[in-house]
Amino acid sequence: MDEQKTYCDEANRLAKLRRFAQLAPQDPEVHLALARELMGGALGEEAASELHTVISLSPNHLEARKLLEQVMGGIRSQPR
């Protein structure tokens, strides 16, 4: 039951963040939060896309650049 609740919460959080990202497309912090959530859910390519958005909005965003490097490393190491 608890596991079910956690799963629902995470799914709900992801949906909310996606919605926020749509509502505030110019806010890098919202996209970053969404990217982190996507990384947690192993959705690397979508996370990378969100991180690219963060970097285009805020080129000096150090954390986003480090996360992107991490995500890209993960994507490249996946078997095709």
Binding site: R19, A24, Q26, D27, N60
Partner: protein
Amino acid sequence: MLNTGREVRLFGFRYTTIFVALAVSGTLIGALLILAIAELPSLDAGRTRVLVLAAAVWAVFIATLLAAHAHYLATRHLADVRTTSKAILESLAGGVLTLDVEARITIINRAAAKMLELPAQAPYPTFEEVARRHPPIADIIQRALSREEYVQDVDSSFVNSEGKNLVLRSTVSAQVDENGERVGLVVLVKDVSKIIALEQELRKRDRLAAAGSLAAGVAHEIRNPLSAIELNMRLLRDEVSHLAVGRPDIDDYFEILSVETQRLNRITTSFLQLSRPDAVSRTKLRVRDPLIRIIRLLEPEAREKRIEFRTEFRDDIEVLGDATKLEQVCLNILINAMQAMPGGGEIRVTTRLRREEDADWAELVIADQGIGVLPENMDRLFDPYFTTRNDGTGLGLAIADRIVADHGGTITVESAPDSGTRLIVRLPAAPNASARTSS
């Protein structure tokens, strides 16, 4: 002048004395005393002439000796004066350069030779050679020589062989002889680079402090209501989304409100960060490490933009600093350099150790081939929100400057339009790093 025949007794003997005055050109320079044990024969005219002649020869001999001695003393005094003058000239911290009226260099003291990178010993360079290396100084010398326009404290820049940008302050005056006739020029040169840098730094800090203290309070007060506005606006937008079907203009209003509140939020947050010094957690790290990390992060983007990083790092220079904050400094500066090169090119990144009297400094030098900075913008480059790009926030360099200042360092810029920009980040070198590192 003779005085003869006086008898004196000395050591039990009786003498007869003859005094002969020794004079040259009417000036008495001594006397000749002749003691005769025997009775003197009478001095007839012939003997007197012989005696006077002998006295004259003797007088000339003594006068020559005295003149030679006086000449020796005068020469030695002159040599002493010259040595002292030269020692004074060489000990001066300021540079001294003298030229004759034909623009031939007659003296360059050690300080001037060092500053201007000219030989300190003869043969001195020609005026044309000086003009090639120091056109602004040659120009004021030329004006002084040809039009007698003497100037005071004229600043000019000079990039020396070490690549250091110096600001030289020159004063030109006439050199006159004892009759007041002009025989040449005296040029005084001072290296005022440090003073200028300190003045700029003070002006910058004053501007930041004044703006910071006023705006930090306002920013702090704005942030809380802004967060409430933003949250409620998002909820409202979500709530009314079904009512706005077929009304794209309503969505546009929300869009604008959202973007603008986000922008306000970012501005106030950044301003608060900028206006208060941040505590720095200091660990010993190699100064090249943050650069290597950031260059690796930026390389994919750089490749797309046809930008190449050329690096030259020393691995033995260490600083005490916050690794993440120094990475932020490197990122902001490198992003700035990349944005200045829309057509691609090369960014040179080097680290070096600079030893100075007061401390050792680790320097990170980032040189781009970009569009450069206009002279009127140089002073404002690190001001928050100053940007020349339409999509820039004007915070990148301001934040970098703030972090470097929190580490006890400085950032200086050397640039000219269309000739690229060089940013030099100076951080205090960790003590043992400088002890075992040769500069």
